[in-house]
């Protein structure tokens, strides 16, 4: 995938802890640089600091040390409102994400905050509803939706907003497999059309394998950062995506599969050759 050379998210030496009375840091000296249009998956065990990192990027928490620069602007109390116009964050817990009393009101919330005109809002909300397949639920109370439907509405709220950077904190976990694949391909398409950057926190290695790049976190630090094939070859703790598991099993059985990581498509090509 061709990636533009502009850096959109730059994290430098970021250090953070929730409780200043304690010495152990939730994040220690994290540095990342993400290019515009890149799709980055962040993986790592529970409590490794993924959600904390994402919250810091959205300006909801204050770093103890280090800097965050988004689209050339250093994040601080003065700039955070401008920066938030460029980022969209879907939170891990879908329960408390809704402000509006109906699905469409909620999707419009971010647009209302930016004083978008009614006609434009109407069109954008309609588009976003269609993109996530929640068109027929527009007048429902979001708190009465199923978990997966809630996540779709939350995503629609972000899509309507058209941010440059979309951050998803395990935002697809409750979706059924078909919807997940659909939504992932929607995101992919959007990214190609609009050069959006996607940062997606996930525990699903098949999803992570679709990313351009995977960042592995452990105990508040980045332990690996690279393209999927490197990550899955060099990490025994992550359970690799299905195609890679298959390749390893085949290799164990003495089959002549290639020695390097294979994506699903590569595996299919190899099997059908």
């Amino acid at each position: 995938m061709l990636v533009a050379e502009k850096t959109i998210v730059e994290v430098d030496n970021l250090t953070f802890r929730y409780d200043l009375r304690k010495d152990d840091h939730t994040l220690s000296a994290i540095s990342i640089s993400i290019k515009q249009g890149e799709w980055v998956a962040i993986v790592g065990g529970n409590g490794s600091g993924k959600s904390t990192l994402v919250r810091l990027l959205a300006g909801l928490l204050k770093a103890e040390r280090g800097t965050i620069t988004i689209d050339g602007v250093r994040l601080n109390d003065e700039t955070k409102w401008d920066i938030r116009k460029k980022i969209g964050l879907v939170f891990q817990n879908p329960e408390n994400q809704f402000i509006g009393t109906t699905v469409q009101d909620d999707i419009a919330f971010g647009l209302e905050n930016n004083n978008i005109s009614y006609d434009e809002m109407k069109q954008t909300v309609d588009e976003a509803l269609k993109l996530v397949g929640m068109d027929s639920y527009r007048n429902q109370d979001p708190s009465r939706l199923s978990g997966g439907q809630k996540q779709r509405v939350a995503i629609a709220g972000i899509l309507a907003f058209k941010p440059n950077v979309i951050m998803l904190d395990e935002a697809l976990v409750m979706l059924d497999p078909r919807s997940r694949i659909q939504l992932l391909s929607t995101l992919k398409k959007l990214r190609e059309q609009n050069d959006i950057t996607i940062i997606s926190v996930t525990h699903d290695m098949n999803e992570a394998a679709l990313a351009d790049r995977i960042i592995v976190m452990d105990n508040g630090t980045i332990i690996q950062d690279g393209i999927p094939e490197q990550i899955f070859i060099n990490n025994d703790q992550l359970s690799p995506p299905f195609a890679e598991q298959l390749r390893r099993k085949l290799a164990e059985k003495g089959s002549a599969v290639p020695q390097s990581y294979m994506t699903e498509d590569e595996m299919v090509d190899w099997l059908c050759r």
């Binding site: 939170f91 329960e95 009393t101 905050n113 004083n115």
Partner: protein, 271 residues
């Protein structure tokens, strides 16, 4: 909790349901105001008939409305008895020191009772036939002139909206916590008052904690999605004034005029 009718919305398609919340609020407020114009039985009869007519229009059974009055009956009776006991005039029926039951006192008591019941009925009509969110929009629109004197009208209505959004969640949560306590062997609605109060503590504390957490999460969501109370916001919900709204307002004007007329005609033959 399901017994509370006042403040609940009852989905429907009636003529009243479709009236603009602004018109409905203005009509209800003016109805309550003109209650005080009526000073004779003709006036009260007219208002009473009007109230019954409006209740019929809502398409909701009278039983619902009666249930709405029930929780307030003690308050009403208390006020009425004060009125009866401390108003003097006309024939005196009973006299114990400062307490007298007189003709005027009784008549006044009946009027106050009717006034109370009509106020409750009419407010119940409004809440039963208007979605809470529309009500908030209506309040927002009616308060909007206060913006000129720097009242944060939009913030107030957003607060109302969120509070309304919280209520069903809160009820669900209470249910969940009560179930959890039941699963641990607590029985509700048994034992002395003190015992029952004690059983409430393990419900209220978790409820409190989870509400705070919810509020915190919600504040985060609002912030990330760019909500700043100081900035101008556009609105996705639009209220549209229709012909029937004008009809409603004109009806109120006519009603007021008739009441004034009745008052003038019978002013000196009160009671």
């Amino acid at each position: 909790m399901n017994k509370l009718i006042l403040g609940r919305y009852f989905p429907g398609e009636s003529w009243l349901h479709q009236i603009d919340p602004r018109a409905k609020l203005v009509a209800a407020i003016s109805f309550i105001a003109i209650l005080f114009i009526a000073v004779n039985w003709q006036g009260y009869l007219l208002l009473g008939l009007f109230t019954i007519f409006v209740m019929r229009l809502s398409g909701i059974s009278f039983k619902m409305y009666i249930r709405g009055v029930r929780p307030l009956i003690w308050l009403i009776l208390f006020t009425v008895s004060l009125q009866v006991l401390f108003t003097a005039g006309g024939t005196v029926y009973v006299n114990w020191g400062p307490i007298t039951i007189s003709e005027y006192g009784l008549i006044n008591g009946v009027f106050i009772f009717c006034r109370f019941v009509m106020i409750i009925f009419i407010s119940t009509v409004v809440t039963l036939t208007t979605k809470p969110i529309d009500l908030t929009d209506g309040i927002n629109a009616l308060l909007s002139p206060l913006r000129l004197i720097k009242v944060p009208v939009d913030d107030i209505s957003l607060m109302l909206t969120i509070a309304l959004r919280f209520i069903p969640n809160l009820l669900d949560e209470t249910q969940k916590i009560m179930d959890a306590q039941r699963a641990r062997g607590t029985t509700f609605g048994e034992g002395s008052l003190v015992e029952q109060m004690k059983k409430l503590a393990p419900i209220i504390m978790p409820l409190f904690v989870s509400s705070l957490k919810r509020a915190e999460d919600m504040a985060d969501v609002m912030e990330v999605r760019g909500y700043q109370s100081s900035k101008p916001r556009s609105s996705f919900r639009k209220l549209a004034w229709k012909k029937r709204d004008t009809v409603a307002i004109v009806t109120m004007v006519v009603l007021t005029a008739v009441l004034v007329l009745l008052r003038e005609l019978g002013a000196y033959s009160i009671y």
